[in-house]
Structure formats: C-alpha cells, structure tokens
C-alpha cells in the first residue's frame, strides 16, 4: 500500500489515527442507521408493551409472531405477490426491449441515433406529474386501469429509456470483427444478436435487472395513480392502506414495512457490484 490513494490508506496512519477513524465510522453508522434499528425493534415489540406505553424502550419480549400475524390479519401477502408480479414482468420486458434497442444503437449507423439516445436519457429527468394525466387516460382507454398489466406497461416504457443507454454503452464494446465475421459466415442478423451479442452482454443485463427491480418495486406514485383495489395493489401503496386500518398497531406496521423493504435490499446485498456499476455508469 503506497501513498497514492486518496484518502490516505489507513495502514499508513498512526495507531491513534486509526482508532479515531474506526470510532468515527461506527458512530456515524450508528446514527445513520438509527431509523432502521428503531423500526426493526418496533417490529418485534409485543402488544403488551405498546399498551403499557413502552414505545421506544427495550422490548420486554421479542414478539417474532408479529411477522406471521400480519400475514393472517391483512392482505399483505397479496400486496407482496402483486409487487413481485409487476416488478418481475417489468424487469423482463425492459431487458427484452432495451437489448434490442441498445444493440441497434450500438452497432448500426442509423441516422439520428444520437438524438434518439439523448431523448431516451432525457426522459429519465421528466417529473412524473408531467405524465400522470395522459398516462392514466390512455391506460383507462386500453382497459388496463386498476390492472397489474397497466402498471407493467408504463414501467417498461419509462425504464426502457435509461436501460437502452446502458445496454448500448456495453454492447459497443463487443468487437465489430466478431459481428462482421459472423455476417460473412452467413449467420442471420437475429442469430448474431441472440447467440453472439446477448451472451456477452449478460453483465449489462444484470445491471439493468437490479436497477429496474429496485425502481419498480419502490414505486409509489404510479401505484397510487393506476390501480385502486387491494387485489392488484403493490406493497408500497398497500402498506399505506394498512396504516389507515391499523393506525395504532405499530409493531405490525413496522413488520410489514420491513417485509416490504426486504426484496430490493436483499437483491442489493447479493448483487451490489452490478447495482453500483449500473448506478454510477455516467461517471465511469
């Protein structure tokens, strides 16, 4: 380890500096995660504790059963299932569309392709309120209002913008000679994409998948906007209806919130590298 890293590598600092550094890291982490620690403890608080007014003290018992009871007493399971169906469909759709469009923009000299790419990226910066009235009207006309398919369709359309840029940037690195050789061998264009380019683009697909999963799973605005019945409601909106129903059962709500947050968090921990590569693509 040499002094060419910034900030200075810890191994080059004095023991006192190192001790100070680690104290600072753990103090900061403790403060940073306080809201999450608080909600984790609340999720295991018993009703007896809540009745006794023990809202923030250490729980007298750990009521793990909250995590099971909430499934029996509320439609949480349906909400979670809806979220999975909507999110997985949106991820698959976005990957399918953006691998096609990304390849077209990466390896063919189409007139105006840079402008198109610019529009795709710019779409990401549009406030959702700018889209809400026409999108709801169109989803309604298609007969998809209050259906999971309506949400899926919109999410695919919106996410395809940034996903196309991401796939295109990655596919540009596939050597032209590889594609040209395949072409001279008489391999059909579609087979070149499916059998040669796509297998090489797996890391990019993984990046798109984790990001789109997180964005769509965490969406609240469109869940509010495009569905209204519990049978199709995803969990972000569902948890808010539970709040209205169970206003004082914080332990249940906390357990429900943690369950709602778990899928993207788990995915992030397992695919941190892909997630970070995707999110920071503009800098690298």
């Amino acid at each position: 380890m040499t002094a060419d890293h910034y900030p200075m590598p810890l191994s080059l600092l004095s023991p006192a500096h190192r001790a100070a550094y680690w104290s600072l890291v753990f103090l900061a982490l403790g403060v940073w995660l306080l809201p999450l620690i608080g909600i984790a403890i609340t999720s295991m608080r018993s009703i007896a504790d809540l009745r006794a007014g023990n809202f923030w003290g250490w729980p007298t018992t750990f009521a793990w059963q909250n995590y099971f009871e909430i499934f029996g007493a509320t439609p949480l399971f349906i909400f979670i299932l809806n979220s999975f169906m909507i999110t997985v469909s949106a991820v698959l759709g976005t990957i399918a569309l953006s691998s096609m469009s990304g390849y077209a923009l990466a390896k063919f000299d189409l007139p105006g392709s840079n402008v198109l790419l610019g529009i795709f990226v710019a779409g990401n910066f549009v406030p959702h309120q700018m889209l809400m009235i026409p999108v709801r009207a169109m989803v309604n006309q298609l007969g998809l209002y209050d259906m999971r398919a309506g949400l899926v369709l919109f999410h695919i359309a919106f996410q395809t913008g940034f996903a196309t840029l991401f796939m295109r940037n990655f596919m540009r690195q596939v050597p032209d000679t590889l594609i040209d050789t395949a072409r001279m061998d008489g391999i059909a264009e579609i087979k070149i994409l499916l059998n040669i380019v796509l297998p090489l683009a797996k890391p990019a697909m993984a990046g798109v998948a984790v990001l789109v999963f997180t964005f769509v799973w965490n969406d609240y605005f469109w869940s509010l906007n495009l569905v209204q019945s519990d049978a199709v409601r995803p969990v972000t909106a569902g948890i808010q209806t539970l709040r209205a129903m169970w206003i004082t059962s914080w332990n249940w709500l906390a357990a429900g919130s943690i369950i709602a947050a778990l899928p993207p968090v788990t995915l992030f921990f397992f695919m941190q590298r892909h997630f970070v590569t995707g999110l920071t693509a503009g800098i690298r």
């Binding site: 809201p35 096609m100 910066f125 940037n169 919130s257 800098i283």
Partner: protein, 309 residues
C-alpha cells in the same frame, strides 16, 4: 469492470480499409429492433409530455369537453397563494438538498478505504437509497409522531417539552426534507465513491511528495478530478428535490393547511383528489417540468461541453 462510456480501441472505426469489403448493413433490421422501445417510449413518455403542455391551456374536469382558455390557468396560478407556497417549498427543498452532495462526499471519503469490512459498511450506509420512500416516509412519520414518536421520547428523557413537527406549519416541510436528505445523501455517496475510485494515483503520489497541505491537496488535485462525479451528483439531486412526491404525500399530505405542499404534490392533488381540475394540474406540472429543465439543462450542456475539451 470495463469502461462503459468511452469506446475502446477495438471499437474505433478501422482507419485502413480491411482487405475484405465490409458487408452492407441493411437498415431494416436495426429499425425493427428499435421499433418496440421507440413506440412505447413515444406513447407513454413523449406524447404525454406534449399532451400535458397542451392541456395546460384548457379547462377540463375529465368528463366534459375540454374548453380552451389560453393562459388563464397560468394567470390563476400567479395569484394562487397555495401555488406560491408550493413553489417556495420546492425551491426550499432544492436549496436544502444541496446538503446531500456535501454529506455524500463526506461519507464517501469516510468509507472509501480499501479494507475488507468496508464493502459491508458502504452497503449499510447506502441502504436508505434502496428502501422505498413510501416505507421511509412511514418510518420518519413514526419518529416524529407528536404523541408516541421517538423524537419526543428523547426530548422527555432529557427534560425538554414535546415538539410537534408534522403538525407545525413551519416545520412539517423540514421534517419531510430531512427524510429525503437521508436517502439522497446515500445516493450521492455512491456516486462520489465511483469518482474517488477513478482518481489519478500518480498525481496524488506526486502531490504528497511535494508535501502540500491536506486542504490544498483536496482543492487543487482531488476536487478537479471529481468534477464529472459532481455534475452527475448535482443533476440527480436537483431532479430528486424537485420531483419528490412520496414523502410529502405520506408524511404530511401537504398540510397542515397546505403549508408543506410542493409542486409535485399540488399538481397531483388538483388533478385527482376532490377537485379534478386537470387543466390547472397540467399547468402546475408544466411549470415543474420547466423548472427541472431550467436547472438540469445548463448542467447537462456544461458537462457535455467540458467533456469534449
């Protein structure tokens, strides 16, 4: 991870014509590949933008025939006290969010050490960004709840009287902004970590050999190299600040008495809650849209211009 944005040498067009002639690439195939993405994006993103701008010149309740009213919606906005509150709050949100890049850079510097446990520690700091804002709003709502919240429990413990931030016309917006800063700073941290990993090591080693001070090192050597990261950080922070909806919708419902409403929430409320004033809502959205581009556009242009040099 290979560089995604800059084409590698293998991708640059052959300067010398290869011996074989390049097979002609017909355009039908790529156009077919592009069609689904372009059509869907045009229908669900581009068309709605144009439609909303057009709608802002109409009076419409969603049922009757829309009626053209020219600039009447915008004139009404200029005189609407709630719009002025929403506009002020959105700008306040934007100003307060500028703490996120600073906090994010601090966290990035703190956690960029190349040590085994750092990967996990970085992931923990980043956690707020991965969690739905709908859940974060719920959590912060409990914390600040005036009867049972943690904040007041802590205040009581040290003998101070309770405060009621979410019921206060002055503080409810700040409560929502604080929750937002938490996740926005996590996002900024991640972007700065990427920036820090790309620093020119030789330059740092040389600067250290010259024994320049820590502050000078940061200002003269590090900060200039973090510029691309800073531009992206600023862009996502501006957009995040202006289009925030979830936190207000869940924590304060824009209240009390519209004191914490922001443009994104005000537009939604006018369109879909009781009033159904779609033309008016479209005008609010158009103002928000113009604001986002007013801030992001120059940043984007400046970034593209500096990349070329």
């Amino acid at each position: 991870m290979p560089d995604l944005t800059r084409p590698g040498p293998e991708n640059q067009r052959h300067r010398i014509r290869p011996l074989y002639s390049r097979p002609a690439k017909p355009l039908v195939f790529p156009i077919l590949l592009l069609a689904p993405a372009v059509v869907l994006f045009a229908v669900f993103v581009i068309y709605p933008i144009l439609k909303t701008i057009a709608l802002s010149f109409y009076s419409w309740n969603g049922l009757s025939q829309p009626r053209f009213v020219g600039f009447a919606n915008y004139r009404e906005l200029a005189a609407d006290p709630v719009f002025l509150i929403a506009l002020t709050n959105s700008l306040l949100w934007l100003a307060a969010y500028m703490a996120a890049p600073v906090l994010g850079l601090g966290l990035a510097l703190l956690t960029s050490q190349q040590l085994a446990p750092m990967r996990l520690i970085r992931a923990m700091f980043f956690l707020p960004y991965v969690i739905s804002q709908a859940v974060i709003a719920l959590v912060f709502g409990w914390f600040l709840n005036s009867e049972f919240g943690l904040l007041n429990a802590l205040l009581h413990a040290i003998g101070l009287p309770s405060i009621h931030p979410l019921e206060s016309e002055r503080f409810s917006i700040l409560a929502a902004i604080t929750a937002g800063l938490w996740l926005q700073a996590a996002y900024c941290m991640m972007l700065y970590l990427a920036g820090l990993s790309l620093l020119d090591r030789d330059l740092i080693a040389a600067a250290r050999l010259d024994n320049i001070g820590a502050l000078t090192l940061f200002r003269k050597v590090i900060a200039p190299q973090l510029r691309p990261a800073t531009f992206i950080v600023l862009m996502v922070t501006v957009v995040g600040a202006l289009r925030n909806f979830d936190l207000i919708a869940i924590m304060t419902l824009g209240g009390p008495y519209d004191s914490s409403t922001v443009l994104a929430y005000f537009a939604y409320e006018q369109a879909f809650s009781s009033s159904q004033r779609l033309g008016y809502a479209a005008a609010i959205s158009t103002v928000l849209f113009a604001m986002v581009w007013g801030f992001v556009g120059p940043l984007l242009l400046y970034m593209l211009a500096s990349e070329k040099t």
